[in-house]
């Protein structure tokens, strides 16, 4: 996987200085962009696992050439005709689509992990903060139903700030909708593996993301329900630095294991082999 992020970078002759470095959001270390990208956007100093695109995630996890997207045509509507000061949801959604070349905050499909067939949904934080809304919920549910029908394990990679406000209560209801799908997998005996990446909070942590038969987190990922500031206002205290980190959540019993990005594919493969093993 040495070609990681390479294809997105056309060769350039003149490079602005600030483009050469990535500053780690966690430890603030300056890392060569090239090194950062080759390292799967993981900080070589502190092992913080930065956000990556759905395509990068699929490249890391799914056997080359095996991914087939499903329901790729699902995209946002604007049920509330939502507007804020900076403009309308409809406009914001359109510009996001253009920028990301995505139609919703999640990409779903089937593929193989070292030969094992799986259904996978990958959230992408670039699309309105990976927010859960009508289209997202629909795609995640349809993917779980696809997994149930074909008896393939289901994997969701979460990266989300929570529900998308712009679709109001309809976004909230996607929590129930996606969980209804997960419930059917549980009943049907189909493995469901949840991978929680930075960040997985709010309505996504409070629905499908924490319901894995096996919950896996990336190192240092922010995982929690309420926002840190809201909690600090509630308890009138500063929270410790590690609060709501993957490591904290593991210690409190909600994560099976923290796995490095580079080892994630093998880890999934190893775990999936246990299902109905002889």
């Amino acid at each position: 996987m040495g070609w990681f992020r390479k294809k997105e970078k056309p060769p350039e002759v003149v490079v602005a200085k600030e483009d050469l470095w990535t500053i780690c959001p966690s430890c603030k270390a300056h890392v060569y962009k090239d090194e950062w990208d080759k390292n799967f956007c993981v900080c070589p100093q502190c092992n913080f696992h930065d956000k990556i695109t759905f395509q990068e995630r699929l490249d890391i996890l799914i056997d080359p050439g095996t991914f087939r997207e499903i329901n790729e045509e699902v995209t946002t509507a604007d049920p509330l005709e939502f507007k804020d000061d900076k403009g309308s949801y409809a406009e914001k959604a359109e510009s996001t689509k253009a920028k990301t070349n995505m139609k919703e905050a999640v990409v779903t499909g089937r593929g193989k992990i070292h030969g094992i067939r799986v259904v996978i949904s990958v959230m992408d934080f670039r699309f309105l903060g990976g927010s859960l809304a009508s289209g997202t919920g629909e795609k995640i549910l349809l993917a779980s139903e696809y997994a149930l029908r074909h008896a393939y394990p289901y994997i969701v990679v979460s990266a989300s700030g929570g529900a998308r406000m712009h679709e109001g209560i309809i976004s909230l209801m996607q929590m129930a909708k996606t969980c209804a799908g997960i419930a059917r997998l549980k009943k049907g005996g189909i493995p469901y593996i949840s991978i929680l990446t930075d960040p997985t909070t709010g309505g996504v942590s409070a629905s499908f993301a924490t319901m894995g038969d096996i919950n896996i987190a990336e190192p240092k990922a922010l995982i929690g329900f309420a926002g840190r500031r809201v909690i600090e206002e509630t308890i009138k205290q500063k929270l410790p630095d590690d609060f709501q980190t993957a490591e904290y959540v593991l210690e409190h019993g909600f994560i099976d294991q923290i796995v490095n990005r580079k080892e994630m594919k093998n880890f999934l493969y190893k775990v999936l082999r246990y299902w109905k093993a002889k």
Partner: protein, 317 residues
């Protein structure tokens, strides 16, 4: 608490109360005409104010401290209530309570958020903001109802799940997610009624059901208008705009197809007329209990799944 848009309603009500009392102590007091006049004034004021509440005003009414709370509904609607305690893991949250109850001749399991009316009650119930223990207690009781084969009635009235450090540590997210997952498969009818504030995931955590009812002045939202305003407008005082934009009222939610029925409160709001409110709530519950009793367990779960499958507005292109 006085709501400013209620204008001089509280004063008129006070005057009516005073005259009524005067009449009781002195039967000869000539207050009839004045009383009739005041009552007419009050009625037309109620009509004027309450037939055209803005969303933000509705939020105020939904949060009104005098609004009936779960224990008021239970006391007024249920012939019997046997409170059941504990989540069997950690504690007995008071922000969500529950137990066996009868409504007329129907036996049900009631669960719901409990706010407080006094400061002391609010400390005990966390202002109706439940901890993971509360959600786990609720799930335990719903499973008990499933075993006993009796319907579940879930009362929603919360600003949201408790945003405390201990709640996070004990898995607030997991507890809510677990309920959403399990509730979709519970093999007895679940009737959900939003009586006051339907605050986000904290509301939905006990809010998955076969039929979702809302009192006419209640609200239900993905985020509080204040929270939304401070995130999207970076200005908490824009809450009224946010309340408008988020479509939080029973009316809007009914039009969006999210809820199944609006229960009209007495004119002037539930906080003005407990008896009238309890009556309409009881009627609505009995009606839906009777409809749902005819549905088989399998059909119930199937239909509930389909109901949630249908929720969402998106395009395919």
């Amino acid at each position: 608490m006085n709501l400013d848009f209620e204008k001089n309603m509280p004063e008129i009500e006070a005057k009516i109360a005073e005259l009524t009392k005067q009449k009781t102590t002195d039967p000869n007091a000539k207050v009839e005409d004045q009383l009739t006049d005041l009552q007419k004034q009050l009625e037309s004021l109620k009509k004027e104010v309450y037939s055209s509440l803005t969303p933000w005003q509705t939020v105020q009414v939904a949060r009104h401290p005098n609004r009936p709370l779960l224990r008021d509904y239970i006391a007024g609607i249920c012939g019997e209530f046997i409170e059941l305690h504990g989540d069997r893991y950690f504690g007995d949250d008071q922000g969500i309570i529950g137990g066996f109850a009868t409504i007329e001749d129907r036996h049900v399991m009631i669960i719901g958020h409990q706010k407080g009316k006094t400061l002391e009650e609010n400390v005990k119930t966390n202002f109706g903001m439940a901890t993971p223990d509360g959600y786990r207690k609720a799930l335990r009781l719903m499973k008990l109802a499933e075993k006993f084969k009796i319907p579940i009635v879930s009362f929603i009235d919360t600003p949201g799940a408790y945003p405390g450090a201990d709640a996070e540590a004990r898995g607030q997210a997991e507890a809510i997610a677990r309920n959403l997952t399990e509730m979709s498969q519970i093999e007895v009818p679940i009737i959900v009624i939003v009586t006051g504030e339907g605050g986000s995931g904290g509301a939905l955590g006990i809010g998955v059901g076969d039929v979702i009812l809302m009192l006419s002045n209640s609200v239900y939202s993905v985020i509080s208008p204040e929270g939304c305003a401070s995130i999207l407008w970076r200005d908490g005082s824009k809450a009224p705009e946010a309340a408008e934009a988020l479509k939080v009222t029973a009316d809007s939610l009914s039009k969006l197809g999210i809820i199944d029925e609006i229960i009209p409160e007495p004119l002037g709001g539930a906080h003005r007329d407990y008896e009238g409110t309890l009556r309409v709530v009881k009627q609505a519950l009995l009606k839906h209990l009777n409809i749902l009793r005819r549905v088989s367990e399998r059909k119930l779960v199937e239909r509930r799944f389909e109901k949630y499958c249908r929720i969402g507005r998106f395009k395919r292109r």
